[in-house]
Structures are given as structure tokens and as C-alpha cells.
């Protein structure tokens, strides 16, 4: 297999960028360039002259790459989204992992696919970590709200902490709502009454 592909990774977050390029290097692709500043995307493209561009699906600068892919300017090599249209599964896997890729020139699919498989695997791990991080942050925010709601009940009804929590939980069960929703409603109402 020819490992001399020039790969450009567009990723502003330095640690994510390093993870992706490390995974690619471990896979045997040594020629990996990272572009952190998406403002200079067009310039970065012409300077590195990559065969393949990898970019987060959610990167707001993706439309800049579309420009290059739609350019009818003969000076530029054509760029297409990697998608080999016969390989729908791989496309879907990439999308689900949050990866989009652009192939420059007429690159053969068998040279691209192993790179993509490696990148998809790395993106999957990273997006899972991101989801877990988001969940942890949300749980923390929820706990703060529930603590505030308990405080409201303790002051207004003279309850101890445990009884306040039990009242919240019972109300949520009786109303068929989530505990956090009841707590939020109570905190909002208390703010309005203050």
C-alpha cells in the first residue's frame, strides 16, 4: 500500500488535532499537516497541496472547502467529498462519527479507505468522550439546580434536606415529570416571587 498520502487535518483544538495525527502516524501515514486557523484555509490548502483533507463535520469553516470543491477554476485541482458513492456504509459511519473528508484529485478509493477507517475510529472515540463530558457537565448543572430547589423548600416549608429532596421526588413521580424539571420550575417560580 502506498503510504505517501499528504493529509491535511483541519482542527482548531490542539489536543484533538494531535490525537488524530497521532492515530494516522501510528497507522503508517507520516505526512500529516495540521491547520489550526481555519481563517487561512484557502492559503493552507495551496501551501500543503494535500491529497486528502479531514475536517470535523461541525466545523463552521466547512463551507470554505465547498468553495474549493465547486471551483470551476482550472488552476485548482478538483476536490470532492470523499464519498465513494457505492460505499454508503462508510459514508454513514464517517457522518455518525462527525468526520467529513475531501479528496483532492483523482485518488483511488483503495488508497483513501484505510486512512478513513483509521480516522473514523479515532473520531468515534473522541465523540464518545465528548458525549460523556457533556453528560458529566449536565449532571453537575442538574445537581446545582436540585440543590437550589431543595434550599427553596427548606426555607419556605421548614423542611430538612432529606425531606425537601423526598418532596421533590414525590412531586415528580405524582406529576409524571422528571425530578430536574420539577426542580427547575420551582427555582424559576422562586426567582419570580423574590
Amino acid at each position: 500500500m502506498n503510504m505517501n498520502l499528504k493529509i491535511l487535518v483541519v482542527e482548531p483544538d490542539a489536543s484533538r488535532a494531535e490525537e488524530i495525527s497521532q492515530a494516522l502516524r501510528e497507522g503508517g501515514w507520516a505526512n500529516v499537516t495540521v491547520l489550526a486557523n481555519t481563517g487561512g484555509l484557502s492559503q493552507g490548502l495551496s501551501e500543503t497541496d494535500p491529497d486528502l483533507v479531514l475536517i470535523d463535520l461541525a466545523n463552521p469553516s466547512r463551507d470554505l472547502l465547498e468553495q474549493v470543491s465547486a471551483a470551476s477554476d482550472a488552476k485548482r485541482r478538483p476536490v470532492a467529498m470523499f464519498v465513494d458513492q457505492s460505499d454508503d456504509d462508510m459514508t454513514k459511519a464517517a457522518m455518525a462519527a462527525g468526520l467529513s473528508a475531501y479528496v483532492v484529485g483523482n485518488m483511488q478509493a483503495d488508497r483513501i479507505k484505510p486512512v478513513l477507517k483509521t480516522a473514523i475510529a479515532r473520531f468515534q472515540v473522541m465523540s464518545q468522550m465528548r458525549t460523556e463530558l457533556d453528560a458529566a457537565k449536565q449532571a453537575l448543572a442538574d445537581r446545582k439546580t436540585i440543590d437550589r430547589a431543595k434550599g427553596v423548600l427548606m426555607r419556605a416549608r421548614g423542611l430538612n434536606e432529606e425531606d425537601a429532596y423526598n418532596l421533590l421526588r414525590k412531586t415528580a413521580m405524582d406529576k409524571g415529570r422528571k425530578l430536574i424539571d420539577v426542580a427547575e420550575a420551582l427555582v424559576t417560580a422562586a426567582d419570580m416571587l423574590e
Partner: protein
């Protein structure tokens, strides 16, 4: 009855209002739909997620579903546009440097004079114009290129540079763009930051251009005919509500408070009221019909509009016009519009295509309920397109 959930992608622009209003004022809920409005970071992301089925419906630049169906943008995927979500609403602007040179050459700052302004622009340009547009397949680009092709002066060349709208003002301010075409609020943002001056509303080029459309996968429409109808009715009611003048202050309030847009009140107000401030400190100029959602049959997806878009795409990309137009115009689906909205008491024009550019004024045409008023659809150069 449990509600049918629909994942609906949009880009946070003022003209995503019909989707937001359909959700916030419960028009969707009345149709048994729960609209999950999913904000997209780029048009490319929205396109890919729609093509692969992660989104059921999307707020799209009108040339996008045609480009996707033709296989010119992302994965080739047949998309139907059963209704138009908004007409007009783009603005053309130039950098402060360029406008200063235009003024030095006697430009009056007129906002609705496409020929006169073009002449001043040409005389002030020092090299190829670098023009920012939000996406390669956008009405912004088509209007700009149509305008440029139609003005006969010692034309300097131009370069189209795709620029995400939130970055447009910065790029103009940093001297990376000489000109830009963008939807509100981003034109006003460039003015407020002192980066540029607005020189034309999009409707000065084409009086009624379909700006955003509802995009659905063709296969999804086939599998979900009834849900398609419910979604279209909910959006139609929202568009009708938005174009009722008395509702405008409330619309502005709802949109500025909505978590879906994140835009300041005054930015939304300028677009909805059509009072456009073209340079810092200048009084607002009224632009009738600046952005319309429903009036003048705005929601009707004329096949001839899709044909015009396809013809421009063919010209820009060097495709065979006849073939491109034939395939592209079938993306707009007036038949679905008739099927799903006709039964809901919405008036329908007698024809599904018109001669684009023939109406210099508002015109009454035959319709199912007798007659309906269509908005003027003239082009700045008087061209008429009979496809």
C-alpha cells in the same frame, strides 16, 4: 395522540423564521408534529445530514436542492422542494475603502439603482473584485453573477470567495473582500461595525427571487405523504402569520427571545420591516418587499423559478443548459403544494410555471378562488425567461 417528531435543520438567519414560528406558536403542534429544530454550523453540514437521513427536513438555500439532485454538491441525492420558505432578503455591500472611492467618483449612495451603482463600482474598482458569498450554490451568488454578466462596462474580473456569514464583516474589515452578498442580519452587522456599506438589496436584481426553500428527500416524501402535508400546512400558517403586518412587532419579539436564533432585536427588526441602514449613521431606507414569507404567493414553488436557477448553474459550471434545466426544474414540486395546501383553503394559481421577469408590477392572475395577486418579478435588465 403522540406527536410525530421531525428533525429539522436550519441555519440561524432571520429567514429561518417560518420554522421557528411554526414551532413556537404551535402551528406544528396543531398538526400533530414536534419540530426538533437543529441549528447547523454550515450549509455543507446541513446538506450532508439531510442527504444521509439524520435530518428529515431542512431550511435550504434555493439552489441547494437542485445542486444536490444534479450531483454537484456532496453526495448525489434527489431532493424535493415542495414550498418556498422566503423570497428576497439578500443585500449587496462593498468595503468602506471601495465605497469611499465610489463616492469620490460621484456615487450618490443610492440603494436601489443597479445600473448606476454598477457603473460607479466599475470605475472605482482597482483590480479583480473579491466577492464573498455564503455558499457556492446560493441565490446570493446567482444574483451577483447575473448582475455582473448584465452590466456592460470595462468589467474587471471577479473572484467568488465562500465565506460563512458570521465572518463576512470581519473579512471585509480586514481587506480580504471587496464586496459581499449576504442575508440579514449579516449585512447590517457589516454596516454597524463600520466595515462596509450596502449598495443594493437583492430584489433590485430580481424583484422576487426564491431565497430559501423547504428541502425534503424525495424518498422520504414518497414514504411520508401525510406527514409532508402536515409539515407544509404548519409552515404555511407560520408564513401567513409572519406576513400579517400587525404581527410584526410580536414576531420580532418571539424571534429575538427564541433560543433558536441568538440575534439581537434590532437586527431582526430591520429585515422584517424592510428598513435598511446602508451606512453607519444614515437614516434607514424603506425597501418594499425586502423579505417576504407568504404575500404575493411567495410560498408557491414555481417550476420556472427552479428552471431559472438551473439555467444559471448550467452557465456558471459549464453544463448543457437544456438537460440541466429539465432535471433541475423537477426539484420544485408545485404538485405537492397543490395536493397538500389546496385542501387547507390556500389559494392556488392556475399555472405552475410563469414567464419569469414579465411582471413589472403586482399582477392579478387566475386562481382557484377567482384571482390572486402575484408580486412583480422583473429583472433589473428587463430580460424575460420563458422556459
Amino acid at each position: 395522540m403522540s406527536k410525530r417528531h421531525l428533525n429539522c435543520g436550519y441555519v440561524p438567519l432571520v429567514d429561518s423564521a417560518p420554522l421557528i414560528i411554526a414551532r413556537e406558536l404551535k402551528f406544528a403542534s396543531d398538526e400533530g408534529l414536534e419540530l426538533n429544530l437543529l441549528r447547523q454550523p454550515s450549509w455543507a453540514a446541513l446538506r450532508d445530514l439531510l442527504a444521509l437521513g439524520h435530518l428529515d427536513a431542512a431550511h435550504m438555500l434555493s439552489p441547494m436542492p437542485i445542486a444536490m439532485t444534479l450531483g454537484l454538491s456532496g453526495v448525489k441525492c434527489r431532493i424535493d422542494a415542495p414550498m418556498v420558505l422566503s423570497v428576497n432578503g439578500d443585500v449587496f455591500g462593498v468595503s468602506s475603502d471601495l465605497s469611499a472611492r465610489m463616492r469620490a467618483n460621484g456615487w450618490s449612495g443610492a440603494f436601489q439603482d443597479p445600473l448606476g451603482t454598477a457603473a460607479h463600482l466599475m470605475s472605482a474598482a482597482t483590480g479583480p473584485l473579491r466577492v464573498g458569498v455564503p455558499f457556492p450554490f446560493s441565490m446570493h451568488r446567482l444574483l451577483f453573477e447575473y448582475w455582473f454578466a448584465g452590466i456592460d462596462t470595462g468589467v474587471p474580473e471577479f473572484e467568488i470567495i465562500t465565506t460563512p456569514p458570521p465572518l463576512m464583516a470581519d473579512k471585509v474589515g480586514q481587506g480580504e473582500l471587496d464586496m459581499f452578498v449576504v442575508g440579514e442580519p449579516w449585512g447590517s452587522v457589516a454596516v454597524d461595525r463600520g466595515a462596509g456599506e450596502l449598495i443594493l438589496p437583492g430584489r433590485a436584481i430580481w424583484a422576487v427571487s426564491p431565497e430559501k426553500v423547504l428541502g425534503l428527500r424525495h424518498d422520504w416524501v414518497e414514504e411520508n405523504p401525510e406527514v409532508t402535508g402536515r409539515l407544509m400546512r404548519a409552515i404555511y400558517r407560520a408564513a401567513d402569520w409572519l406576513d400579517t403586518p400587525d404581527n410584526q412587532p410580536l414576531a420580532c419579539e418571539i424571534l429575538s427571545r427564541s433560543e433558536h436564533l441568538d440575534l439581537p432585536h434590532e437586527a431582526i427588526d430591520r429585515a422584517l420591516s424592510g428598513n435598511i441602514v446602508t451606512r453607519p449613521g444614515a437614516p434607514a431606507q424603506p425597501v418594499p418587499g425586502f423579505l417576504k414569507f407568504q404575500r404575493g404567493a411567495a410560498t408557491f414553488p414555481w417550476r420556472s423559478q427552479a428552471a431559472w436557477i438551473s439555467a444559471q448553474i448550467a452557465r456558471i459550471h459549464g453544463l448543457v443548459p437544456k438537460q440541466t434545466i429539465a432535471e433541475g426544474q423537477s426539484v420544485f414540486r408545485p404538485d405537492l403544494y397543490r395536493q397538500h395546501l389546496g385542501g387547507a383553503g390556500v389559494d392556488l394559481p392556475g399555472a405552475s410555471a410563469k414567464v419569469e421577469g414579465a411582471m413589472r408590477n403586482r399582477t392579478a392572475v387566475a386562481s382557484r378562488h377567482g384571482h390572486m395577486i402575484l408580486a412583480a418579478d422583473a429583472f433589473f435588465d428587463g430580460q424575460i425567461f420563458d422556459f
